[in-house]
């Protein structure tokens, strides 16, 4: 493994994000498995950007099913990933966002550009 790859591999293993890429549909699903605060945002951000850039998806979905806490760090994290996705022409959507977290997103108006898609059901 190359050095950069290995470093990313380590971060990946330590981060709380599950990655699922559908080659056929070019759909990248990032399932966050942790609380999102300033402490956690950094590693989530690195893993997400790394995956978005190397997979070159058409659409990125952030799955919040296992996120029970988020503060303003999450707003920055989501907007930042929107920027990364936009750079390669990919769309960004969110699914399974809990009420207390939705409340925070609603305060910012970003749901107009990064929608919460409801149809997905919880596994």
């Amino acid at each position: 493994m190359e050095k950069v790859e290995y470093k990313m591999y380590k971060i990946l293993k330590e981060s709380y994000m599950k990655i699922d890429f559908n080659e056929k549909d070019k759909l990248l699903k990032l399932k966050i498995d942790d609380e999102i605060d300033h402490h956690r945002a950094e590693s989530l951000r690195r893993v997400a950007d790394y995956e978005i850039q190397r997979r070159n998806p058409k659409k990125v979905i952030l799955d919040f099913n296992n996120v029970f806490f988020m503060d303003s760090a999450g707003i920055g994290m989501v907007i930042g990933r929107y920027k990364t996705a936009s750079m390669i022409g990919a769309k960004l959507e969110m699914i399974n966002v809990k009420e207390n977290i939705k409340k925070i997103f609603e305060m910012t108006g970003i749901l107009k550009i990064i929608p919460i898609i409801e149809e997905e059901c919880n596994e």
């Binding site: 503060d71 760090a73 207390n100 910012t108």
Partner: protein, 154 residues
């Protein structure tokens, strides 16, 4: 702690390490739970504490070995939380309160911290002196426990 002024009181000092953000919000919410808040009220308190503690870590201090003080008081059906640092201080408090205002956009901050606290809590007071530090006081009334109190809020 001196003579009884409140129904209950708690003090906590933490180092300005980001791993303490979760510790602080969980501790304060555990203390608040004696008021029998709803899950939503508890979640609001957790978020507010996280916002303010994170602000001290990111904006007040440059290093992670400084001290952040948290003082929490329960009186009737309300909880008051004071969080203070001895860091840089806020230059313009009016501006800092505005949604989307941030001095750290390069760190992917959105400038929504104080706006979230203002929405989730019933009171937010910001006191700050440049070069000396910042003290945030916030209060939340827990509506859930009104029925248990003989004298409910007036």
């Amino acid at each position: 702690m001196n003579k009884k002024k409140y129904d209950n009181e708690m003090k906590l000092e933490i180092m300005s390490k980001s791993s303490n953000e979760a510790f602080a919000r969980i501790t304060v919410s555990a203390f608040a739970s004696q008021l029998d808040p709803t899950i939503e009220e508890l979640s609001d308190i957790k978020t507010a504490v996280s916002e303010i503690v994170t602000n001290s870590i990111i904006h007040a201090y440059d290093t992670s070995d400084e001290i952040i003080k948290i003082h929490s008081m329960i009186e009737d059906n309300s909880i008051t939380i004071e969080i203070s640092d001895t860091g840089k201080g806020i230059e313009d408090i009016e501006l800092a309160r505005k949604p989307l205002y941030t001095t750290k956009a390069e760190l992917e901050r959105s400038g929504m911290g104080f706006t979230i606290v203002e929405t989730f809590m019933d009171e937010l007071k910001i006191e700050s002196i440049l070069g000396l530090g910042t003290k945030i006081t916030m209060k939340k009334i827990i509506h859930n426990c009104e029925e248990n109190n003989l004298e409910s809020e007036s």
